[in-house]
């Protein structure tokens, strides 16, 4: 097993389960991905999309139904988990309840036969890194959730693995603790510079932590890209919906030229940028609430008229629901205060109106 590697390659990794009725369905479907040393990859997707399954396959806790996993030139998907040498942080921490913090953290080192004289300083270093010095003799039951999570992280990093796997490590923490621990994870990753695969359903976590994001939906990879790419240029409607493009309007295609599409429906007329080839006469335009501005567009273009239907005050801005006369509802983030029932005009920059083929979902 290599101490360091150049790349971890997932080649058409597939994992099938037998569903009720005898048919098999693929929880992970032909996942292909290459991870470089030191890279932070986020597997992002809604619950049940297969991201945790994929992580378990990489760890060796689940066998593959198809495909292979390679560490540089060595094939590793045939190895049991205890021989892959990866560190893993579990969602509900999985700390051994009958062992103290110190024995939990040193467990991996003891399993690998590291000399006792070397174990103590390494455990001390790991606990210092996660800021838990002084808690060595406590049992997990005596620690708070945030502390338990940090013990789990220390346990995974003390073995100095080439790859760290994290399965939604923050989802059991409350909001404030989540933010703090997220910053911790970022800091630890910078210090250790180990390749990390991080599974989450929270796009904020993925955007803030990852070098690259892999968006998964229905077991299949939808998009792989940098946070900026995935945020601003989702490749399809599923990714767009998941990444916070709350306004999705299904309209009729009027004209198409040079990648720009003009659509109309009801009392709405918009021009946007085409992201995927369109075939039928119907298409969806997706816009982020933050990218709809109050007021008329340049020359009156891409402007929608409506009435304020609901205002949710949020401190530095408000989430405003604007209803058009034809019944469409737009969600707008506005810094400018508006009143309920007020008639407003909003506009969308053409480059930020993304057009996709209809997918039939509301």
């Amino acid at each position: 097993m290599k101490h360091d590697f150049t790349e971890l390659r997932l080649d058409r990794v597939t994992r099938r389960f037998a569903a009720a009725g005898g048919t098999a369905f693929a929880a992970v479907n032909e996942l292909t991905l290459t991870i470089r040393r030191g890279e932070f990859i986020a597997l992002l997707g809604p619950s049940g999309c297969g991201k945790s399954t994929a992580l378990n396959c990489i760890a060796g806790l689940l066998p593959l139904s198809g495909g292979s996993i390679w560490l540089d030139d060595a094939r590793i998907d045939t190895l049991p988990p205890e021989r892959r040498g990866f560190g893993m942080v579990f969602q509900n921490y999985a700390l051994f309840p009958h062992m103290s913090v110190e024995r939990n953290v040193s467990f991996g080192l003891r399993m690998r036969g590291v000399a006792a004289s070397e174990i103590a300083p390494r455990v001390a270093r790991a606990l210092k890194l996660v800021q838990l010095v002084g808690q060595e003799q406590k049992l997990p039951g005596q620690l708070s959730g945030g502390q338990q999570q940090r013990v789990a992280i220390a346990r995974a990093i003390v073995i100095e693995p080439p790859l760290i796997l994290m399965d939604e490590p923050l989802s059991n923490l409350d909001a404030k603790l989540r933010l703090e621990t997220r910053a911790e994870i970022r800091r630890i990753h910078r210090e250790l510079d180990r390749a990390t695969i991080y599974v989450t359903h929270d796009q904020d976590e993925a955007l803030s932590l990852a070098d690259r994001i892999v968006v998964i939906h229905g077991g299949t990879v939808q998009q792989i890209g940098s946070p900026q790419e995935v945020y601003a240029q989702p490749t399809n409607l599923a990714v767009a919906r998941f990444m916070g493009y709350r306004n999705v309007l299904e309209l009729n295609v009027q004209a198409e030229q040079d990648g720009r599409v003009t659509l109309a429906g009801g009392d709405i007329r918009l021009t946007g940028v085409r992201k995927q080839p369109l075939s039928t006469g119907r298409a969806c335009v997706a816009v982020r609430p933050e990218e709809i501005a109050l007021g008329e567009g340049p020359g009156g273009a891409n402007t929608i008229v409506g009435r304020v239907d609901n205002v949710e005050y949020g401190g530095r801005d408000s989430l405003v629901d604007v209803a058009t006369r034809s019944g469409a509802l737009l969600h707008v983030r506005s810094h400018v205060p508006v009143a309920l029932g007020q008639e407003v005009r909003v506009h969308v920059p053409v480059e930020r109106a993304l057009v996709y083929p209809s997918d039939g979902a509301p």
């Binding site: 205890e82 999985a94 309840p97 467990f107 006792a116 346990r155």
Partner: protein
């Protein structure tokens, strides 16, 4: 003021719900026990240890402790010792597990008396087992597994193994399997997972299971009479107590014997729990390497 009293009243009254059960227990469990304890010291209306002296000098009484231990300890060791690896192997919820648990409930439900009759028919010198062994030339002549020590021992295993197995299985399935998975990612192979994760977490449950199984085996009664030789080799302590009560009508002596029975059980349970504490104080709590 009245509201405070009213707020307290419903709560107090619902505590009364437990009174019937508590009273019943005290009347029919604690009181007979105390009465029996007292009675064992009063064979002739005076406080004396006469009964206990009689117990330890009568050659038909004190050897019963050893006779019963000779049966109960091996049976319990077999039941728990074989039950543990099998239950561990079957810890994953599968068709086999469900089948095994359902089938194993049958001997427990049928009870020791039916098992005794079944064994007399099947394990007897003319039963199917005997015939099979002779047919396969594994044994010469009729087997002698009934009306002796072996009959009682086998019956203790037949009735005790399902109980031990099911209890251990319930403890094992109560341990979160993600712990073993975490250990695997840290380099523990299946043997190490059992040794470092499951075994320490099972230790309290195993000790409890051993105690319960032993106590059950030590009180063997119908099997010892029907399948054993109650006059001699399998004269267990419960038989001695029964005879004192219902054949000699010496309730005082019978109580004394029952107290001795309880005392021996308590001694073994205490020893097992002490052993468990001694074993697992080391690796589990705060070891420095």
């Amino acid at each position: 003021m009245t509201t405070a009293a009213a707020a307290r009243a419903p709560l107090d009254r619902s505590l009364l719900l437990i009174v019937p059960a508590a009273a019943f227990m005290i009347l029919l469990f604690v009181y007979p026990f105390l009465y029996g304890l007292l009675l064992s010291f009063e064979p002739k209306d005076a406080m004396t240890l006469e009964n206990y002296r009689k117990f330890f000098t009568d050659p038909r009484l004190w050897p019963t402790i050893w006779t019963t231990l000779r049966l109960a300890l091996p049976a319990t060791l077999i039941n728990v010792g074989v039950g543990l690896p099998i239950a561990y192997r079957m810890r994953v919820k599968s068709r086999y597990q469900r089948l095994a648990t359902t089938l194993l409930v049958v001997p427990i439900t049928l009870g020791t008396v039916l098992i005794a009759e079944g064994m007399l028919t099947y394990f007897g010198p003319r039963g199917w087992l005997s015939q099979t062994l002779q047919f396969l030339h594994l044994y010469d002549g009729p087997i002698r597994l009934t009306h002796n020590y072996w009959g009682v021992l086998i019956s203790l295993v037949v009735s005790g193994f399902p109980f031990a197995f099911l209890l251990i299985l319930s403890y094992i399935t109560g341990i979160d399997p993600v712990l073993a998975r975490a250990a695997a990612t840290l380099g523990a192979d299946p043997a190490a997972q059992f040794r470092h994760i499951y075994l320490p977490l099972l230790a309290p449950g195993l000790a409890m299971c051993f105690c319960l199984a032993f106590v059950q085996a030590f009180s063997v009664f119908p099997s010892a009479v029907l399948l054993g030789a109650p006059a001699g080799p399998t004269r267990v302590i419960s038989i001695a107590a029964y005879e004192a009560a219902f054949e000699q009508y010496d309730y005082s002596l019978a109580s004394a014997i029952a107290m001795m029975m309880g005392f021996v059980q308590l001694a073994v349970v205490a020893a097992v729990l002490a052993l468990r504490n001694w074993f697992y104080r080391g690796p589990v709590v705060g070891g420095k390497g």
